[in-house]
């Protein structure tokens, strides 16, 4: 019956109007735009505040991984393919941990300081290699966290293999959840706004064609360094937050998991969308929590998801959903 028909996709009228002109005429149109943004915000908040304590911790971990994924996606949108989110994460974590452990600074000082200083240190470490692109940058970022782990192990500095323990915790779980949720949504919507602005346009153009961007008289290395600072600051914040949440920092903060999961989440959610990786993280982390009894087999599972998603489903969930939401499908008769 269907052979004389073909599927036709048409963008909804509201979508066409709301894409660049903000002259919405009705509550219906406003609701159309707000609905996909409000549902996850409200939904996650409700879930986060009313779960039992154990699952509250899971939500916090999920939010941290979601931020790492969003930051990975931001960096990849700037043409900086990072395989070492653990580097930024670990540096943030160690900065916060040592500030708290050696200088006894309170938590509301260490986290902001670790965010900025951690981002700065990460940028400085990667500054010599910022001229590299694509796969070469990826190789360097892959080996850096592994080597830093060895460095800590070898020199026994910053607590060595034991790590730093007994750091100051958050006042209570409510503050913790509110803080991380606010930070996560701020990171997501902030980066989306940033990418869409004229400033963000330069980042995207560096990814698409860096030669042409250079030819337009833009110093791409300066912009790459700025992108790196923004991206790594977000990761450093996650590291600092996690440090205080677990009251511990040590060698595990450079673990492969912190580098791999953001990439897996982005591959599931859709690379280049920022919201997609967040969705991917909210699928993967709770799922891996359910699979906790399998131990390290979880990492095998991430690896499989990575390979399958990259090869078979290169588009990602977010693209699929946004197509379903923004476009109408109908069967049109073939002439």
């Amino acid at each position: 019956m269907k052979e004389n028909y073909r599927k036709e996709r048409i963008a909804r009228g509201i979508k066409a109007r709301s894409d660049d002109i903000y002259a919405l005429t009705s509550y219906k149109e406003m609701w159309y735009l707000l609905f996909p943004r409000l549902v996850p915000i409200v939904g996650i908040a409700i879930i986060a505040y009313f779960l039992p304590l154990y699952w509250k911790k899971v939500v916090i971990t999920t939010c941290i991984f979601a931020m790492l994924s969003v930051s990975w996606d931001f960096l990849s949108s700037c043409g900086l393919l990072s395989l070492g989110q653990a580097l930024f994460f670990g540096i943030g974590s160690y900065t916060a941990g040592s500030l708290n452990h050696y200088l006894h600074l309170p938590i509301y000082v260490t986290i902001p300081v670790a965010t900025v200083v951690g981002g700065f240190i990460s940028t400085m470490i990667l500054l010599p290699v910022i001229r590299l692109r694509g796969i070469y940058f990826a190789m360097v970022t892959l080996i850096l966290p592994l080597m830093l782990m060895r460095l800590v192990e070898a020199t026994k500095m910053l607590g060595g293999t034991e790590g730093l323990t007994g750091l100051s915790p958050f006042p209570n779980t409510w503050v913790e959840i509110t803080f991380i949720l606010a930070a996560m949504w701020a990171a997501l919507f902030g980066l989306r706004r940033l990418i869409a602005s004229d400033y963000g346009l330069i980042f995207v153009s560096i990814r698409d064609n860096d030669r042409a961007t250079m030819a337009s008289g833009i110093n791409i290395y300066a912009f790459k360094a700025q992108a790196l600072f923004i991206g790594s600051s977000i990761c450093a914040f996650c590291g600092a937050f996690m440090t205080h949440s677990y009251q511990f920092t040590g060698m595990p903060v450079f673990a492969m998991e912190f580098s791999i999961l953001p990439i897996a989440a982005s591959a599931i959610g859709g690379i280049g969308t920022l919201a997609g990786p967040l969705m991917g993280a909210f699928i993967l982390v709770p799922l891996s929590e359910l699979l906790r009894e399998f131990g390290t087999l979880r990492i095998v599972f991430y690896g499989l998801i990575l390979v399958i998603c990259v090869v078979v489903l290169p588009e990602g969930i977010f693209h699929y959903l946004s197509r379903k939401y923004n476009e109408m499908e109908r069967w049109a008769r073939l002439e």
Binding site: P128, F294, L306, V307
Partner: protein, 286 residues
Amino acid sequence: MLVYGLINSTVLALMALGFNLTFGISGVANFAYGAIYVVAGFLTWTFINELNLPYALSAVLTIVLIGIFGVLIYRFIIKRIRGLVISEVIATLGISIVILEFLRYFGFIGFKYSLPVFINGSVEILGAFVDIQRLLIVGFVILLIAALYMFTHYTKVGLAFRGIAQEEHTSLSLGINPDRIAGLSMGMGSALGAFAAIVILPLGTITVDSGYDVLINALSVCIVGGLGSTFGVILASFIIGYAQTITATYVSSHWTMIVSLIAILIILAIKPSGLLGHQKELEERV
């Protein structure tokens, strides 16, 4: 110390050659290389201890099987995403993690997993006692480099390898199938990894973590030497190898990893294409 430095360097060169071959020819960075190295070790162990095959036969079998495995990875996974750098990296890294963590989960850990050395004993050279196995490694590396040079310069397939490395579209018009050749180069790179594993692993036990170590070492040597340049790899492995040995002797063996890290950062800051990278690679990298 001179001798130990030489041996350390040749071990590094041996680890890096397979990775470098695949990358230099097909442009695919095979992050699964470390995993392949470990799998080769366990495979040989299984052939010897479970199936009671003679050592030489099991070594050859392993190299062939791993080569086929590499071709299969290319054929079913990498071929579909060739040219998309992000996807290539993610997919090969994914494969590597799947293999290594799978092995770790099934408990392939322990002292019983070690390969026998080829010839026992040691000799004295320049006042240092050296195992014959280590000397054999040096010999094998020299042979291997000579063989690779002959292969890429005087055989038809070898010339096709260099053809697609230089200009893929032109070689297509001359009747070379880039996909087939790239698959072959992936297989050969993996086989070289297996060879490295069989030669190097008798010096210690086979551990899952050595997969990551091999990948790190291969990557750092290739980055310093200039990716895709065989002589760059040899030069770089000598620099890093001697630097590591000197640090281990005079400072502390804990700092050896840091030496390669610093070497990478310095080289990349001064000469982003690596020591012997060509102009073409410079274009790609910077």
